[in-house]
């Protein structure tokens, strides 16, 4: 600071949240004696309008040139207070937050003297920092107007359509040969019982026809570099060995193909050929040759599909295409998988053919499924007369499986039981449940209808084991309400398998530098207030990759992520945090050690033999500053001097 520091310290009571533990008045009285502090006060709610006005007035009346707000975490109100300080004519970086709530008053109890002492130390450190802060202005930069959407389930479809409608170009990348995701596999949707494909496929077609959307199916994001507004992305478009423009969907190739493999779309209940289309309404509307299953893409070994194709669409010479594009924003909609069946040994899953998961049952119910919508069990094709549905299979079981609730299983199990009873009116449906969670519009009414009108027997209790006895699947469980052990001989058992993040989540999080929560779902920037944003600027979340959710929530989040992306892309320029590294050329020896430390390629040794920082690329981590052997690099507003003085203020007596 050029002129002598005049720091004001404003201590927030946060009602009783801080004042209940920390002696706020005492703090204000003590901090005024600290070097360069010329004003201090405490107030009930510093973030309120009167609270902010106190700061603005004091800046003017007391001629302050630095402000400390000792309050909640900077993640809550740093922006609020910096804006207030700016309104009073100071640079926003003349304001620092001393976090004395989350990191002090909320975690310490006792007689109050210890938390008060700690709060004082935190404030002193902040004073030392703010008085050395330099004024900074945001760095302006250009950005790409394009948006990348990763994942073509209903979340990605909705997001892509919304962004495209706003006038921005979109590239939608889907790893499977078709978009549609899990929603395309579902029979009907709860609680309205709309046919899932019937409401989804028009949207899929819309994606395909939209002039602003480029659909890249059977593709994967290989590499991402850059930063908000300017992501450079490499996408691999895998070969389908079929020209989609030429393919007329006659199906002759499929008829002659000699190779049978498990059909993923039908969840392994049927087989498909090595050359196949996932389902009739698939988008892109074309066949895909599965190169792993194919006899070898070698015309000498087998070329039946190519021989029979009148349209000459089969092309064994295709290879991966790599596309590099610049994007301003990225929407991550990688969706979910089901908890692996290998882990459900106690329910015989994977061991008995007639123990299936919810998605397999969806395929059995679906008019486009392997049984054309008739409920027939996998082992022998018989219509099952006793069906047991097991909820929370792999969910809410912290000892053995996942501890969280998968959110949608109560509802889809009720739907399954209802549709089963409609298909097999003389059959018996039993549902084992821990609790029924039907929080959603018209959801509870749906559950009641299933329980009362469809005569589905709900049994409160967990299933302990399952074994094949005399050709039946014997299910041992509890009916806690009757207080009885239950034994049911079932023909078919449907497990409401836990929802887990899709297998790409981990890889995607690495490539995009995203955080994952403890269960592997993407971690949003704030669980309540920024649910669709990631902590990486310009990257947004849509759908079940961020946490289990049903279709309405997924579509809402798709639109939410799109709105956030549009908000960002519609700005003429983006501003970059000015807290970057600067070089003291007198100290720099040009050794270049900093270059290898920088994860953003923001440093180079220039023609004058000294390090130079690209302020647009620098993200301000400060790693290079700590690694510089001559102390030539320093991170603005977190310099070595600032850290040293903060340490001294916080630890010294």
């Amino acid at each position: 600071m050029a002129s002598k520091p005049r720091i004001g310290v404003f201590i927030c009571h946060c009602g009783e949240n801080i004042a209940g533990t920390v002696d706020v008045t005492g703090l204000a009285e003590r901090i005024i004696d600290y070097d360069d502090v010329t004003f201090s006060t405490d107030y009930e709610y510093m973030c309120s309008d009167p609270g902010q006005n106190k700061i603005k007035e004091a800046i003017e009346e007391e001629d302050l040139n630095g402000v400390i707000v000792a309050a909640c975490s900077p993640s809550m109100h740093e922006e609020t207070f910096r804006s207030a300080v700016e309104e009073a004519g100071l640079n926003r970086y003349r304001c620092e937050i001393a976090n004395i709530r989350e990191q002090c008053s909320w975690v310490h109890d006792g007689d109050g003297s210890k938390p008060t002492e700690k709060a004082l130390r935190i404030i002193k450190g902040a004073v030392e920092k703010v008085k050395r802060n330099i004024p900074m202005e945001p760095v302006e930069r250009e950005h790409s107007d394009k948006c990348l959407v990763i994942g073509g389930g209903v979340a990605g479809i909705q997001a892509a359509l919304d962004v495209a409608e706003a006038g921005n170009e979109v590239v939608l990348v889907e790893k499977e040969p078709t978009i549609g995701g899990h929603m395309a596999q579902l029979s009907e949707t709860f609680p309205t019982l709309d046919c899932s494909q019937c409401i989804l496929t028009p949207k899929m077609v819309e994606v395909n026809q939209h002039p602003n959307i480029e659909l890249m199916a059977y593709s994967e994001v290989k590499d991402v570099s850059g930063y908000i507004g300017n992501y450079s992305v490499q996408i691999e478009n895998k070969p389908t060995y079929v020209d989609p423009d030429a393919c007329n969907l006659c199906g002759d190739c499929e008829d002659v193909c000699p190779v049978n493999v498990q059909d993923e779309f039908n969840q392994g209940l049927t087989s498909r050929k090595a050359i196949s289309i996932p389902f009739a309404q698939a988008i892109p509307s074309s066949y895909t040759l599965d190169e792993e299953a194919c006899l070898g893409l070698n015309p000498l070994r087998c070329s039946k599909c190519a021989d029979v194709c009148d349209a000459d669409a089969v092309d064994f010479d295709q290879s991966s295409k790599f596309i590099e594009e610049e994007f301003g924003a990225i929407i991550v909609a990688t969706g979910y998988d089901l908890y692996p069946k290998e882990k459900m040994g106690e329910y015989g899953y994977g061991q008995y053919e007639d123990v299936i998961d919810g998605l397999q049952f969806e395929r059995l119910l679906s008019a486009t499924g392997p049984t054309r919508g008739e409920v027939r069990r996998p082992s022998d094709g018989k219509v099952p007369k006793d069906v047991v549905f097991v909820q929370c299979s792999g969910s809410r079981d912290p000892e053995n499986h996942n501890s969280y609730c998968s959110k949608i299983c109560c509802m889809y199990t009720a739907k399954h039981a209802k549709l089963y009873k409609e298909s097999v009116p003389d059959g018996n449906a039993y549902v084992f449940y821990i609790d029924i969670r039907a929080g959603g519009k018209d959801y509870e009414e749906f559950i009641q209808e299933v329980q009362e009108e469809d005569r589905v027997l709900y049994l409160k209790g967990k299933v302990s084991k399952l074994k094949k006895v005399d050709g039946k699947l014997r299910v041992w469980g509890m009916d806690e309400i009757a207080g009885e052990r239950m034994e049911i001989d079932a023909d078919l058992v449907v497990l409401a398998q836990s929802i887990i993040p899709s297998s790409e989540a981990k890889d995607t999080s690495r490539k995009l530098n995203l955080n994952l929560g403890q269960n592997g779902f993407y971690k949003e920037a704030h669980p309540k207030l920024r649910p669709v944003e990631s902590l990486t600027g310009g990257v947004f979340f849509a759908g079940a990759g961020q946490g289990p959710k049903d279709i309405p929530d997924t579509v809402s989040q798709g639109s939410g992520a799109a709105a956030k992306a549009i908000e960002m892309l519609s700005k003429p320029t983006l501003t970059h945090d000015p807290q970057v590294v600067e070089v003291d050329e007198d100290l720099c020896s040009g050794c270049g050690l900093c270059i290898s430390q920088c994860p953003y390629d923001a440093l180079e040794v220039n023609s004058r033999g000294v390090a130079e920082v690209n302020e647009i690329l620098c993200e301000g981590c400060g790693t290079c500053a700590s690694g510089c052997p001559t102390n030539a690099l320093s991170l603005k507003n977190l310099t070595d001097e600032q850290l040293t003085e903060m340490i001294h203020a916080q630890i010294g007596d």
């Binding site: 700690k118 530098n513 955080n515 430390q597 981590c621 790693t623 850290l643 340490i647």
Partner: protein
């Protein structure tokens, strides 16, 4: 007059360098979830654990700290891609140096604490405080063991 000797428990002074994205957010979560822990550790939030240089840790000891915690994002999760790996190496090196100078390397602790690990943050501070209490005052401690 009743003569009594009250042995005051040694209350170590600890500095915690917390990265802003993971560990400070984890400490915030400990607060939001009201996980209580001893008040001995005073936090200093930095952008990245990679910002922490051995000289900062040594400075803390020189100023009288009895223990220093450096905490960043889990390996692979660094907001800045790889700053935590730099911190990892620097702390490992520093521990060797401290040992050479006759200081117990356990006075420096490196811990990966994510934004979702409020419990782990509280537990780490609890354990670290206990460990340093057992080790006693640091070489430049300005906390006197009083009787």
């Amino acid at each position: 007059m009743l003569k009594s000797v009250i042995k005051m428990e040694f209350e170590p002074k600890l500095v915690g360098f917390l990265c802003k994205w993971c560990s400070s957010a984890g400490a915030d979560l400990a607060g939001v979830s009201r996980r209580s822990y001893p008040s001995n550790l005073v936090p200093i939030t930095v952008n990245c654990s990679g910002r922490i240089d051995v000289s900062h840790v040594i400075r803390a000891f020189r100023d009288g700290a009895d223990g220093v915690l450096v905490s960043g994002c889990h390996p692979g999760d660094c907001h800045y891609t790889s700053g935590n790996y730099k911190a990892w190496r620097r702390v490992a090196l520093l521990k060797h140096v401290l040992e050479d100078f006759g200081m117990n390397p356990d006075r420096v602790k490196l811990e990966w604490i994510s934004a979702t690990e409020g419990d782990k943050f509280a537990q780490t501070v609890k354990e670290f405080t206990k460990e340093i209490k057992e080790l006693g005052p640091g070489p430049y401690s300005n906390v006197k063991e009083r009787e």
